[in-house]
């Protein structure tokens, strides 16, 4: 187990290095640089600036400097934002994105497991048909449309009731978080519902379930102890990639609901070609996702003893 964990971690580190390298060279491939602005900068000043930021060095040397900085955990200073270190940007904005993402994952996982189990138990009956219809709808509607509709619904709800039930946009309190995270989680919830349904259907009539019934266990106990526990395993496997999808997909929801998350900074940084912020956010996100997937895999081995052996 320990050697497996170490091997996975090493692979993770190499993957993050690959991500950093790919981003670095892709970014420097873009014409222009962060010093190019609307205002013409005199040649001498430009030279000084380039020297100061190390942009005059050959690309490969810049790359090695960048790598050595990154191993010390220093992402540098933003080119476009006044006096802000990239580490500070990440430290301040990431918790917002992470809170939104975690809430969305919780919504998605709980909803997906519950609805999936329900549809399997009421297979081909009304609850199954209604839920599966909603699931197909949830898979087919893009997240930004969901977000827009969610906000539109909230506006008209507040309008008809005459007072503000939930805030329409912004960030800060729990009320602010509810609708955006629900909207963000819906797509994943639909996907997990489908997965849970098929894994539950495999299990509904398994031998051990029949044995449990024969022993005279109440249906609720069979459901929680025997069916749910076994059916939930495949859902946990896809949670790693699902976290990846939700955290990166967050910036549409962030922009529609005016949430000060990290995603917005990335889009802005790319438009302004703010080298340090692009590198910082990409490497940080990449590392976060890679280690999230590793964590979920390890967790899976912990939950399912059959996997631990192999």
């Amino acid at each position: 187990m320990l050697s497996y964990t170490l091997k996975r971690l090493l692979q993770g580190v190499i993957t993050v290095w690959f991500i950093a390298t790919a981003t670095f060279f892709a970014m420097h491939q873009v014409p222009g640089d962060p010093l190019t602005t609307d205002k013409a900068v005199p040649e001498d000043i430009r030279k000084n600036l380039e020297e100061k930021y190390g942009l005059d060095k050959p690309l490969f040397e810049q790359y090695t400097i960048f790598l050595s900085n990154i191993t010390r955990g220093d992402f540098g200073i933003s080119f476009t934002q006044k006096n802000r270190r990239v580490n500070d940007i990440i430290r301040e904005q990431f918790p917002v994105s992470a809170t939104l993402g975690i809430l969305a994952i919780i919504f998605a996982a709980l909803g997906g497991i519950l609805w999936g189990a329900l549809t399997a138990l009421y297979r081909n009956k009304l609850p199954d048909i209604v839920i599966m219809f909603l699931v197909i709808l949830g898979i087919s509607v893009p997240s930004f449309v969901m977000a827009a509709l969610g906000q539109m619904g909230l506006v008209s709800l507040n309008d008809t009731l005459g007072f503000s039930v939930l805030p329409v946009a912004g960030w800060g309190t729990v009320q602010h978080m509810l609708v955006p995270s629900l909207v963000l989680g819906l797509g994943t919830m639909a996907y997990l519902t489908r997965l849970m349904r098929s894994s539950m259907l495999e299990i509904v009539n398994a031998d051990y379930v029949r044995t449990a019934k024969a022993k005279g266990l109440p249906a609720s106990r069979i459901f929680t102890k025997h069916q749910l526990r076994n059916a939930v395993l495949p859902v946990i496997t896809v949670l790693g990639p699902a976290i990846a999808a939700i955290t990166t997909g967050g910036f549409v929801v962030e922009s529609i609901f005016a949430i000060p998350g990290l995603g917005r900074f990335f889009v802005q940084a790319v438009q302004q070609l703010d080298y340090t912020v692009i590198m910082g956010t990409t490497v940080f996100y990449g590392a976060f996702l890679v280690f999230m997937v590793i964590l979920v895999d390890l967790l899976y081995g912990f939950i399912d003893p059959r996997v631990r052996i192999s």
């Binding site: 993957t15 790919a22 197909i136 893009p142």
Partner: protein, 457 residues
């Protein structure tokens, strides 16, 4: 057959060549069988028709609905679907003969009926007012509430007229005139008038827009129909139906061509890795793992910018390239797994014994046997490619503005979503229906083609 009905004829030898038994069901190839199963799936067939319909919509549609998608129509901004608008034919704007305006019998009146060209106000002089300020509002006058947009001030007490030509729309305005004292401060003297504005169009403009074939065809004062927009217009007054047709080209092009290309790359890569095996397989698949680990959307944005677009280009090709570069590994993994499985099958050994070489084995046995799985992957890749395009266009990183795509139309529609929701709803509906159709078709194909992945319904 009962036991007593044999006759001597039954024991005659059959003529040579005749079949001893007739097989009642013709033998079916894998694809015929899959097609038969797919046809039984009603949802998949309906989806297939929807997809064909969408293709016809974008390929044939522009020939039937010949409205130019880029043409702006400034009197029809954000118009609701199927609104019928008419305009009165008129002459070009005539200068106002102010000297002959006379004195109105009402405190505030129109010198002539207001049109979208001009609204000409005259009023009775107010006692003690040394100048006047004119306001325009879209809400009725209420004491204490604001008067609306200040249009201008007259300079002299005798100037009791004003001509408003500022962006007049065909709706009702409420004009207010406030008397000003000698220090140009507002006094309590206010008169208000409700002014309905009629839409007019000049003969030359009607001819230019193709509403009249010749200027002489129209009579002044006659009402002319301005043309309907079945899906309404957008915030710049462009026909939404034409834009949806044009936008479908980008969305469906990316949605269908990108998956096709990256599946092709993935098949080539995966089959090479699977067939080579050993160390080269390890290296190739590790590289694929790295590409999978790249944060997808961040890299889509980065690559799209890195490939760059020149002026006047729509940016579809960089997006296509970025999508292919980032999406191939999942297919490669799948195909490699399939190839590894098939390699152990008996018929591969048999073919090898018969002297088949590697390329023959791969092209003739391995790829055809994975084709079912590949086709299913392809169908499921279409919705995600459409989503990616829509997402990128939505955050403004997709196609460059004059070119419409469903995603960028959603992005534009969301700004006016509370006042004219149709601008968001139609493109969103098209994206959703397309994605839904491909998802259901994918489900159907999976059930029909791949017995192992068949969903248990």
């Amino acid at each position: 057959m009962s036991e007593s009905t044999f006759s001597a004829d039954d024991f005659k030898p059959l003529p040579k060549g005749a079949a001893a038994e007739v097989i009642t069901r013709p033998s079916m190839s894998y694809w015929q069988d899959a097609w038969r199963r797919l046809k039984e799936n009603r949802r998949a067939i309906i989806s297939l028709w929807i997809i064909i319909g969408l293709l016809a919509f974008t390929l044939i549609g522009p020939y039937l609905w010949t409205v130019d998608h880029a043409k702006q129509n400034v009197d029809k901004i954000s118009e609701r679907p199927f609104t019928s608008t008419e305009a009165v034919l008129t002459t070009p704007l005539q200068p106002w003969d102010i000297g002959n305006r006379g004195t109105p019998s009402d405190p505030l009146a129109l010198a002539e009926p207001a049109t979208t060209q001009t609204a000409r106000l005259v009023w009775q002089a107010m006692p003690g007012a040394s100048a006047y300020r004119i306001y325009r509002n879209i809400f009725p006058y209420e004491p204490g509430a604001g008067l609306g947009l200040p249009l201008g001030e007259t300079l002299l007490p005798k100037d009791t007229y004003f001509e408003d030509r500022l962006d007049l729309q065909a709706k009702t305005y409420y004009y207010s005139v406030v008397g000003l004292d000698s220090q140009l401060r507002e006094t309590a003297q206010v008169v208000t008038l409700e002014v309905p504005v009629t839409r007019v169009i000049t003969l030359t403009e009607a001819t230019e827009r193709g509403l009249l074939s010749q200027a002489s065809d129209g009579k002044l004062g006659e009402k002319i129909h301005l043309g309907t927009h079945p899906f309404g217009t957008d915030y710049l007054g462009r026909d939404l139906l034409a834009r949806l047709m044009e936008g479908a080209r980008v969305s469906l092009f990316i949605g269908i061509v990108a998956p096709f290309l990256f599946v092709l790359v993935g098949v080539a890569y995966g089959s090479i890795a699977g067939f080579l095996g050993g160390a080269s397989d390890q290296v190739l698949m590790r590289f694929a793992d790295f590409v999978v680990a790249l944060p997808f959307l961040l890299f889509m944005i980065l690559f799209k910018i890195a490939f760059g677009i020149g002026p006047g280009e729509s940016g579809v090709m960089p997006m296509l390239l970025a999508l292919v570069l980032l999406s191939w590994p999942s297919t490669a993994r799948l195909v490699r797994g399939q190839i590894l499985q098939i390699r152990e099958e008996g018929y591969i050994n048999a073919a090898q014994l018969l002297g088949a070489n590697t390329s023959y084995l791969v092209l003739r046995h391995m790829i055809p046997n994975t084709l079912g799985v590949i086709l299913v992957t392809l169908t499921f890749a279409v919705p995600s490619a459409i989503f990616t395009e829509a997402f990128l266009s939505f955050i403004g990183m997709g196609v460059a503005p004059p070119t419409p795509s469903w995603g960028s139309m959603c992005n534009e529609g969301i700004k006016t979503m509370l006042t004219s929701p149709h601008e968001l709803i139609f493109p969103a509906l098209f994206i959703s229906v397309t994605v839904l159709a491909f998802n259901l078709l994918g489900d159907g194909l999976r059930d029909a083609l791949d017995s192992r992945m068949r969903s248990r319904e």
